[in-house]
């Protein structure tokens, strides 16, 4: 602990990025959760319950609690918690010299890449995202561990982000890695 005390006086912490996601992102993530995880889980539970009700009524006393614990509760918890946590954590910011993004829901990931190292800026709108007027902006660097992903921004923000980062990347002289 002694080693940490010295730095405690001048300790600097990473603050969260300034811009949050678009309010529509929460609905997008909810629909996504329903389509990919929660919906299928609930469907399986319902199908099994209906089947057992029709053909094996004797199995209900143990099947119902089992399904409740393994399918229904996780599905409901996921669809309620994931979008809420993502909205709280996801954020982005383009600074003078670097782009900064936070993401994740259970595992939180914050990534900072200098604009001078940016190689490409990709904007992706999935079928679901475009329905909500959202986009995902991915800023790539030369390293696979250095790609910054900003999910759930509005179309206008995505456009602004793409031009802003591309401009900045052009202005800031590329160092070292280009040649």
């Amino acid at each position: 602990m002694a080693g940490h005390r010295r730095s405690a006086q001048t300790q600097l912490m990473l603050r969260p990025p300034r811009n949050g996601v678009d309010p529509r992102a929460r609905r997008w993530w909810t629909v996504q959760a329903l389509l990919t995880v929660s919906g299928p889980l609930l469907l399986v539970a319902v199908a099994l319950l209906v089947n057992s009700l029709l053909f094996f009524p004797g199995a209900l006393p143990w099947l119902a609690p089992l399904l409740l614990v393994t399918c229904v509760l996780p599905a409901v918890a996921y669809v309620l918690a994931m979008p809420r946590l993502r909205c709280r954590i996801h954020a982005w910011e383009v600074g003078e010299a670097a782009v900064y993004a936070a993401g994740g829901w259970l595992l939180r990931k914050r990534r900072i890449a200098p604009l001078s190292r940016v190689q490409t800026v990709d904007t992706v709108r999935g079928p679901l995202q475009s329905r909500f007027g959202l986009a995902t902006v991915t800023v790539t660097t030369a390293s696979t561990a250095g790609d910054v992903r900003i999910a759930g921004v509005s179309d206008e923000d995505a456009e602004w982000l793409a031009t802003r980062i591309a401009d900045a990347a052009r202005l800031v002289p590329a160092d070292g890695d280009a040649a």
Partner: protein, 519 residues
């Protein structure tokens, strides 16, 4: 770069009249390549011959059909080899190296000479016998698009071409010393590698598959059966240790043989001021050249066994060595050797002395997390399974569960402590140092100017423990190098210190530091 460029000259203009601008003639690969091309039919032919031997020369219909199929395939391969060889042409023009290929579709790939970053020469056993070598020239851009592979050239031609390419790639000659050479004493570290144990099982699996492939069931062979009958049941307390000893000895011998084959005639040197070259191999010679500008650091590897024996190996962290698998194979600059020599090679590769790395330890929470993880994932599951089964079936399993816990818990505790002691990070000169791991401990020195991005990852558990994992992204080696479980309070400050200015605008004084200063 355009491949049409040299076509400015009229067709009839003699090449030797204007050597500066005349189009370079297209050159063919060595015709012996076709023979190499056909050699992989050796495996099925060999297995067929073995079958013939085993059955005393009486081949059944199935074998004849197989033989016919092999003959047809052989003819096809030989024909395609001839056509491929005829169609493949390469040349080195004033500013690019070009390769024309294609059986059905023709393609021309050109790599500008100033983009060539590494030139490797390799040769497998067959190519070696025939005096051939494969030359690969890459831009280091990653992916297959940035590489030209000439398979294969006569060996002197390959060596000459490599010298030419590297010279034209802008590298300067210098007489820098050889960093490390072949040394028989290094062989004693060979049994401390994975192959000492894994090799036996891999070899046994291989033999089994061959026997299975030619239809012999090993347990039907008289000797094996008798040996098993005689020793298998009777003296278990003798047989089991004997078998373990035999496996260990076999593994050690195999590991030494493999090591000798791979690292025969090893040499690591700066061929000029800008090119690091490592060359080794007995039957297959491998030679990898790494340009200094692509060199981002080194990794000192000390797997558990090797560390116990006081050894280490060294890998270069460099861009453009191919995908993860190729990178793992080609980045080795020093095979398992003594720790002192490994440190010396690290210094030689980096070009400045690092000394024995003295690193900042990580918070106690990291130790707790490691211990909990070791107990919860390795000790607990078998114990629970055994206990539940024991409660349901027989009390013997309960004793087994207790025995397992008594045996495994101290081991897990020791490994957890070792993993914690391995954690560390620090700054030394222009390098960022990261160390972690217990089974495969790695200490990596990364050029700070090569860090492309920083990532901070945490989970609900690690947030509560006050630790965070910071990842430095580089366009070399494994891509991202993780500093696991460092104190959440100092992580951002450390990253900013390592790469000044990268995080500055997103930092603010920590609230906890303001409230309770000397915590």
């Amino acid at each position: 770069m355009s491949e049409q460029q040299p076509e400015q000259q009229p067709e009839q203009w003699p090449a030797q009249a204007a050597p500066a601008q005349a189009p370079e003639p297209w050159r063919t690969l060595d015709p012996r390549t076709i023979a190499v091309h056909c050699t992989w039919m050796g495996a099925p032919l060999g297995s067929l011959a073995l079958t013939a031997l085993a059955t005393g020369g009486r081949l059944d219909t199935r074998a004849w059909i197989t033989l016919a199929v092999i003959a047809v395939v052989f003819a096809g391969i030989a024909a395609s080899g001839v056509v491929t060889w005829r169609r493949t042409r390469y040349r080195v023009t004033a500013d690019a190296v070009e390769l024309r290929t294609g059986l059905l579709t023709r393609s021309v790939r050109a790599i500008p000479l100033h983009r060539v970053r590494n030139v490797d020469i390799t040769a497998n056993a067959v190519q070696r016998v025939l005096g051939l070598a494969v030359l690969r020239a890459g831009t280091g851009g990653g992916g297959r698009g940035g590489e030209i592979s000439l398979e294969a050239l006569a060996r002197p031609e390959a060596v000459r071409l490599r010298a030419e390419l590297l010279a034209r790639a802008g590298a300067r000659r210098a007489d820098d010393p050889v960093l490390a050479g072949a040394d028989l004493r290094r062989l004693r570290y060979a049994p401390l590698t994975f192959w000492a144990v894994g090799g036996v099982f891999a070899a046994a699996g291989g033999v089994w598959r061959i026997l299975d492939g030619i239809g012999i069931e090993p347990w039907r062979i008289g000797i094996v059966r008798r040996a098993f009958d005689d020793f298998g049941h009777s003296f278990l307390w003798v047989t089991v240790p004997l078998a373990l000893l035999a496996i260990t000895v076999l593994g050690a011998v195999g590991a030494v043989a493999l090591y000798a084959e791979e690292w025969w005639d090893y040499r690591l040197e700066w061929t000029d001021a800008a090119t690091l070259r490592v060359r080794h191999g007995l039957f297959t010679t491998r030679s990898v050249s790494i340009e200094r500008a692509r060199l981002r650091g080194v990794t000192l590897r000390e797997p558990l066994l090797l560390r116990a024996g006081g050894g280490a190996s060294v890998r270069a962290v460099a861009g453009g060595l191919g995908n993860t698998e190729e990178n793992r194979r080609r980045s080795v600059v020093l095979p398992p050797a003594s720790y002192a020599e490994a440190l010396r090679v690290c210094d030689g590769v980096l070009g400045e002395p690092l000394g024995a790395p003295e690193l900042t330890p990580h918070p106690r929470a990291a130790l707790r997390r490691r211990l909990v993880r070791a107990l919860a994932w390795c000790v607990l599951p078998p114990a629970v399974v055994l206990a539940v089964l024991g409660a349901l079936l027989t009390p013997v399993l309960l004793y087994c569960a207790a025995g397992w816990v008594l045996l495994a818990a101290p081991v897990a505790y020791g490994l957890g402590r070792d993993a914690y002691r391995g954690l560390g990070h620090g700054l030394r000169g222009r390098f960022l140092l990261v160390r972690s791991g217990t089974f495969g401990r790695e200490t990596t020195a990364l050029d700070r100017s090569a860090v492309l991005a920083w990532t901070f990852t945490d989970s609900p558990f690690s947030r509560r423990a006050g630790v965070v994992t910071a990842t430095a992204a580089v366009a070399a080696g494994e891509g991202g190098y993780r500093i696991r479980d460092m104190s959440a309070d100092t992580a951002a400050g450390f990253a900013e210190a390592a790469t000044p200015g990268m995080l500055a605008e997103f930092l603010e004084p920590s609230r906890s530091a303001v409230n309770d200063g000397p915590s």
